[in-house]
């Protein structure tokens, strides 16, 4: 079974091949989602300290764990992108989150690691084109642009329960990314039938950053959480080639990736309900290193809030009370399109199911989202996401 899980883990390293047209811009679209539980209640989780269904949003909260915890989170999405009189429907599945936490001292100190996809750059376009010639004639064909790649993090850190009201966390994040853009110009004119152009530009990013987190529980019903990921430099290995041409450009340079701050709160409303909210700011406006991206980037912020009826178990093993969640997310993306910001709005609901003997939960969340609008951005995307995650707990696995 461990081998099966390992094989699955390796497979998730492949990037998803769907997306929406805004993934063509700058650093692409934010696809970080966490567990389906978090997604269903709008995305908040910084102040969460649940040990039955840990969200992994705040590494400081992991110090409370008594059991080894595994989180696998993914989602399926059906969307339609449209604009300028054309539309395209996409269906995809995506597995952006795999996390593991291992208690080193029961309820006090936890080591955690994982894999978290943060941004996706996947999209492709194809349009018929005619290239004009000096003699006034035209050569017909089509132009296809394929953009693919992602940014992801591999965190490795500790969560420490310092006191009853204070927990701290710190992690080292390996930041990796690939951005590959292939422009193909294919001549379909039977009078010409020339060799197609293929311009391929590939960037491989590699860097390290650190994240510090805190979880405060000063009063019983109220929890506060915050984290800060440092801005950092990353190596960029860039290769530019043109199909058929013997020479190519190779270069190594540095890009400056932005810091990211998150903060949230959670308020328990009795035994059954809780509300919460998070805010996140990634200062993409400080990104440097790729001039074409610099022209488009801007600070990205996210506001999320929601409500949750908590999962409760009946005494004496008489079943449980199912959780219910609802939330709302508003994200202003880290890039501009047509000189206007791109807003993403998500409305979510969801529930969850405990595994046998309280060894974790299966959570589901259903979201409707809108991204961009034709009036400001020229393009928009609408669609549904079905998030699914499994949080598994195991005692004394090692």
């Amino acid at each position: 079974m461990k081998r099966l899980a390992l094989a699955a883990l390796l497979l998730v390293a492949s990037g998803a091949r769907a997306q929406n047209p805004f993934a063509l811009v700058g650093p692409g679209q934010d696809v970080a989602q966490g567990s389906a539980r978090v997604a269903a209640r709008g995305g908040w989780g910084m102040a969460e300290a649940d040990t039955l269904s840990p969200t992994f949003v705040n590494p400081a909260a992991l110090g409370d764990l008594h059991h080894l915890a595994l989180l696998f989170g993914g989602y399926a999405e059906s969307s339609e992108a449209a604009g300028h009189g054309v539309a395209r429907r996409s269906n995809r599945t995506f597995l952006p989150e795999v996390r593991l936490a291992l208690p080193l001292r029961d309820g006090r100190l936890t080591l955690h690691a994982g894999f978290s996809t943060r941004r996706s750059l996947q999209y492709r376009t194809q349009v018929d084109t005619t290239w004009s010639q000096p003699d006034g004639t035209g050569i017909a064909g089509y132009e296809r642009l394929i953009r693919e790649g992602s940014f992801f993090r591999v965190p490795l850190g500790l969560g420490w329960r310092a006191s009853s009201w204070l927990a701290l966390g710190a992690e080292v994040d390996l930041v990796r990314g690939v951005a590959r853009e292939e422009l193909a110009q294919v001549t379909a004119d039977p009078e010409f039938s020339g060799e197609p152009n293929s311009r391929i530009e590939e960037r491989v990013f590699s860097g390290v950053t650190g994240t510090f987190a805190v979880l405060l529980q000063p009063l019983t019903p109220l929890s506060l959480g915050a984290s800060y990921s440092l801005a950092h430099d990353a190596d960029q290995d860039r290769t530019l080639s043109l199909g058929g041409v013997g020479g190519w450009v190779e270069s190594r340079s540095t890009v400056h990736l932005p810091d990211e701050a998150r903060a949230g709160l959670q308020l328990d409303l009795g035994e059954s309900w809780q509300v919460g909210g998070d805010a996140k700011l990634a200062r993409w406006s400080r990104f440097t290193g790729i001039p074409e991206w610099e022209e488009a980037v801007r600070d990205e912020w996210t506001v999320a809030f929601g409500v949750e009826r908590k999962l409760r178990f009946q005494p004496m093993g008489r079943g449980h009370v199912s959780p219910w969640r609802a939330g709302y997310t508003w994200r202003r993306g880290g890039y501009e399109v047509n000189g206007a910001p791109v807003d993403e709005r998500i409305w979510s609901v969801g529930t969850g199911f405990p595994l046998a003997r309280r060894q974790g939960t299966i959570d589901v969340g259903l979201s409707y989202f809108t991204l961009g609008n034709e009036a400001d951005n020229g393009w928009r995307t609408r669609g549904w996401r079905l998030a699914l995650s499994v949080t598994g707990l195991e005692r004394l696995i090692f």
């Binding site: 063509l24 696998f72 054309v86 539309a87 269906n91 953009r147 010409f192 598994g392």
Partner: protein, 471 residues
Amino acid sequence: MKRLPGLAPLAALTLALALGEGCTSDDPNGVGTGLSPVGMDSVLVPVTLTNLSHYGALNVTNTQVPLDEREVLYLGSDGNDASSIVVTYDFSTLPNAEWTEDLLAAGNIINVRLRMYLLTWYNRNHGANTDTTNLPNRYWPGARKIYRVFRLAAPVDTLSFPGAEPAFAGVSVDSFVATRYEDLYPKNDLIEIPIYVDKAAEWLAERGRISFLIREEVDPIVGTDPGLLGFASKEMVHGGSTLADIYAGNSIGPTLLINTTRVPDIAGVPDPDLVIRPVADVSTWHALEEPPATPATGILFRTHMRSYPVLGFDLSDTDLVPRNVRINRAELTLVTDTTRVSGPAQVLVASEIEPDVVPPGVAVVALADLEPATFVVGGRSGLNPEDAASDIIAINVTSSVQRFLNGAYAGSRVFLLTEGESFFTGWRANPSPDFWFRRRWFYGTDDADPAHRPRLKIVYSRESELDEVRP
């Protein structure tokens, strides 16, 4: 082993998600167009090069198939090219058990003919005699011919050709005049020249080897048409594809047929002719236009007596063709001088070759030395001289020009134009270029009409960021 109930559903779900990861969607379309700044600096830029940096003309010899072993004998003239036929018979084998001395006596001979087998391509409509609606109107070798046969003073060494016609006496053995082929031979494929009987009796009596010269002549009184025709030689093996009939039972090649009053008793053959087959035959090619030393006035492409042109273009001018560009299309274009074409349809194969192998000007090279020196780029087949669509020949050399610019070779390369030689897999080589005499002149670099000049047309695309990188 400890049971791990929590991991089992986790692993199964994860594997299912991972295997299912991916997407289905509508085909890519214009959604999102313009959002990415990715583009190329220039696309499909046309450039035409007309100045040849290298010109050569290769007269190619083929020791594997010397001239006297070719399957076709050429007779007549076309433009500045002319050939007669030298044929040798061995009369020393007569008399024999069937044709005894009394049967070979002059008084027993009724008539003597020299029969030649014309390749059907040279007939009207190239052998399609039943169809008279589509007479060939270009490169028709003419309908009226005079062929004369001369006895030569001594047997001729066929290895002396191509070369001057051997000296012959001023009076022919006999002459043959055809006003129109179809008047005499409905099938047009047998040419029979009457031979004086008394002369034939003398040859039989001499009982030795005798060579004859068969030549085309011009008779202004009759009004004959000069033209180059091909006949089967004694080495003919492609008769099925080029002759109306293989004529089993006869030798293929110029043949003497002697008809007699009294005949030998040969089982199953009533009234047989004495058939005397040649022991040697060869085309003289006493006139053969040399390829020009420069490409100014024209470029010659010829088979049978191979002459292959070599063309090179200067790609070093980066103002015309920058480095590190994508060659979308490159065409080597030659325009045919339609007044100087001869023979059936051609194949034209362009190959890369080192300039050192093909020095400037006219050179002689062995066919066997070409094979290891060439790399096929592309070509055209079915270049029918009677089809106007074949007059302008453009060969796709895109990959080759891309290689030149990529610096794939230590030195430069130029283009060699050949027929479909046997070592060029994929290009017609049967019959080999030794078979047909095909000739095509292309207009030269100094032709008054720029549209006639040989040229290399290139269409490229460019990413200028690549300009400063290797090679």
